[in-house]
């Protein structure tokens, strides 16, 4: 209890070495890097589709129908002699676009509504009953109903998937906010006199950001899968547009005869979803400040 003690403790070197930044930890995580690279590759494929696989993917050439994968047709051809490689490359555009737009809109709305819902009881009571109502319908039925009502188009798919996917995301955000709002740092911030808006921005949002990012990656994969499912059952994008889901619809009739028609679009779909889920998992680990310290 002497002055010398006080000085000694105060001068004690700051304990831990500088924690590595998020980027440093990200590049050291092979799963994160690999899944991210895969997604970038798919994104580049979608952007540069006309360069990678030039020509109209819908062009029919019955002479070469059911050609197995080979030098001329990497992924073979389908029942109408269309190049499956071209279909997969061009199909990524619709698939990823739908996934991205649905994720951005539904996560954006879910974040705003979830923050309000978790923080203000009055908003919560009303909003959560509405969400309960939405979630009472099975997702695919709700999406099908919405898509059937609006008619087949990309915008239809986006709207109906957003309606379906917003509820689970909203619940995730709200649940996190409910936990964070009880944290002592929130009370400390209020005691300091930090305005509510700033508490949202500097305290609550950063604390719920990692679950939001993780959820976003899962929503992305759900949207990609949802688009495929809607297109597969014929209420998604129109039959003249191509997406991986659309490609699978027709291909299923020839699964025993020409399995490559199914395998390649299916594989593209699977790899995208796998990459998104792995990225989500690694982000969850990397963004957790407590887990981060252990590395």
């Amino acid at each position: 209890m002497t002055a010398a003690d006080t000085q000694a403790e105060a001068r004690e070197a700051i304990r831990a070495p500088r924690a590595p930044s998020f980027l440093q930890r990200f590049v050291r995580n092979p799963t994160a890097v690999l899944s991210f690279a895969l997604l970038v590759a798919f994104a580049l494929m979608a952007i540069f589709a006309p360069l990678i696989a030039p020509g109209d993917p819908m062009r029919v050439n019955p002479v070469v129908r059911f050609t197995p994968p080979g030098a001329e047709y990497f992924f073979g051809t389908d029942n109408l002699g269309r190049d499956v490689f071209r279909i997969v490359v061009h199909g990524s555009r619709t698939t990823l676009l739908v996934g991205l737009v649905v994720t951005v809109i539904s996560m954006g709305l879910a974040t705003i509504l979830g923050l309000l819902s978790g923080f203000y009881r009055a908003v919560d009571v009303i909003l959560m009953r509405f969400v309960d109502g939405l979630m009472a319908f099975p997702g695919i039925v709700l999406a099908t109903a919405a898509a059937g009502f609006l008619g087949p188009a990309i915008s239809t798919v986006i709207i109906s998937l957003t309606i379906v996917l917003i509820s689970p995301s909203l619940r995730v955000v709200r649940g996190q906010v409910l936990v964070v709002r009880e944290a002592q740092m929130i009370e400390a911030a209020r005691a300091t006199g930090v305005p509510t808006g700033r508490i949202f921005r500097r305290y609550i949002l950063p604390a719920v950001m990692s679950p939001i990012l993780v959820q976003a990656s899962f929503i992305f994969s759900a949207a990609v899968l949802g688009e495929a499912a809607l297109s597969f059952i014929g209420v998604g994008i129109g039959p003249t547009d191509i997406s991986w889901g659309n490609a699978l619809t027709e291909a299923r009739n020839y699964i025993s005869q020409a399995p490559w028609i199914v395998i390649f679009p299916g594989l593209a779909l699977m790899l995208t979803i796998l990459a998104l889920n792995l990225l989500g998992d690694s982000l969850r680990d990397l963004l957790d400040p407590r887990l981060a310290r252990r590395r």
Binding site: M1, A10, E187
Partner: protein, 313 residues
């Protein structure tokens, strides 16, 4: 007692549903003094801390801060009032934002209250605050998890000082720390108080800590004040059986001689506060009257007062 009170409460009461956590608490904290609030866990001390800072809404009662009626303030007026009253929490890890650097933590109170002309000025003040609590300026760009518990509590103290408050409420500020660090933090807080003349409401369950820190002491039990007075009166001639029992339970205290009754059992639940005197179920001297009548405060001189029927005799 002669100095005007900076913080005053009258009949402060807080109920959570039908649980009365705090009942009729009257406090008067003279400007520049350190007022200790002691009691076991569950006695309502922390609730009082949050009530006087208007972090939770009282069920009834008055709170005056200088000339200001705190209960009449709301919204932005209340927020701006907070510049003058800051808080130090028990757990320095929980009360700091782990995603903000120490620099951000120390400049934020200044910027939200419009102190300092620009970021550079606020940052300079942040560094000065760090120096004051004995941390190097290099700490500014680091995150809370890079510090030890004692260092984190120093950061929390620096944050509380950032707005130059008139009142600091410290809720068990050292109970989460190692005993060896406790003394250092207590010394730091005493130095700070001496330097800035800050008034302090110091809440603790640890009688030795309170004795070291406080000029005036109030003993709480089940949401009520049992006894209060200047430090020497409370420690040398406690009049309430509860205060006596608490003091004799301090390890190594000279009063731990078996003559005074030890506390038996646990503090009752606030759901079922005993009738009459709240302490009667554990009081070694309880008699019939304690069951039916709530004891009133008896003035015992030098500002000491205690609520016990024994003092009627």
């Amino acid at each position: 007692m002669s100095a005007p009170a900076l913080l005053e409460t009258k009949g402060l009461t807080k109920s959570f549903g039908n649980v009365k956590a705090v009942r009729d608490v009257d406090l008067s904290i003279p400007r520049g003094s350190t007022f200790g609030l002691v009691g076991e866990s569950g006695s309502g001390k922390s609730t009082v801390a949050r009530l006087v800072l208007r972090l939770i809404e009282p069920t009834s009662g008055e709170i005056r801060f200088g000339e200001t009626d705190l209960r009449a303030l709301k919204g932005d007026k209340l927020r701006r009032q907070r510049r003058k009253m800051q808080m130090i929490f028990q757990d320095p890890f929980g009360s700091l934002n782990l995603r903000m650097t120490v620099g951000e933590t120390l400049t934020e109170p200044q910027s939200v209250h419009g102190l300092g002309r620009n970021d550079a000025e606020r940052r300079a003040r942040g560094e000065a605050l760090l120096a004051e609590v004995g941390l190097p300026a290099a700490a500014m760009d680091r995150f809370p998890h890079e510090f030890s518990g004692g260092q984190r509590q120093r950061i929390a103290i620096a944050r509380a000082l950032a707005t130059e408050p008139e009142l600091i409420v410290a809720d068990e500020p050292v109970s989460a720390l190692d005993v060896s660090v406790q003394a250092q933090i207590l010394n730091l807080m005493r130095d700070m108080q001496a330097e800035h003349g800050t008034t302090m409401l110091f809440i603790s369950h640890d009688l030795r800590v309170v004795q070291y820190m406080c000029d005036q002491i109030a003993v709480m039990y089940l949401g009520e004040i049992m006894e209060r007075g200047p430090r020497h009166r409370i420690y040398e001639m406690p009049q309430h059986p509860y205060t006596q029992a608490l003091l004799s339970s301090v390890p190594g205290s000279p009063k731990e001689d078996g003559k005074r009754a030890k506390l038996k059992g646990e503090i009752p639940s606030a759901h079922s506060v005993p009738s009459g005197c709240a302490f009667r179920t554990r009081c070694p001297h309880a008699f019939d009257r304690c069951k039916v009548e709530v004891p009133v405060m008896h003035q015992l001189g030098e500002g000491q007062e205690a609520a016990c029927h024994l003092l009627d005799r």
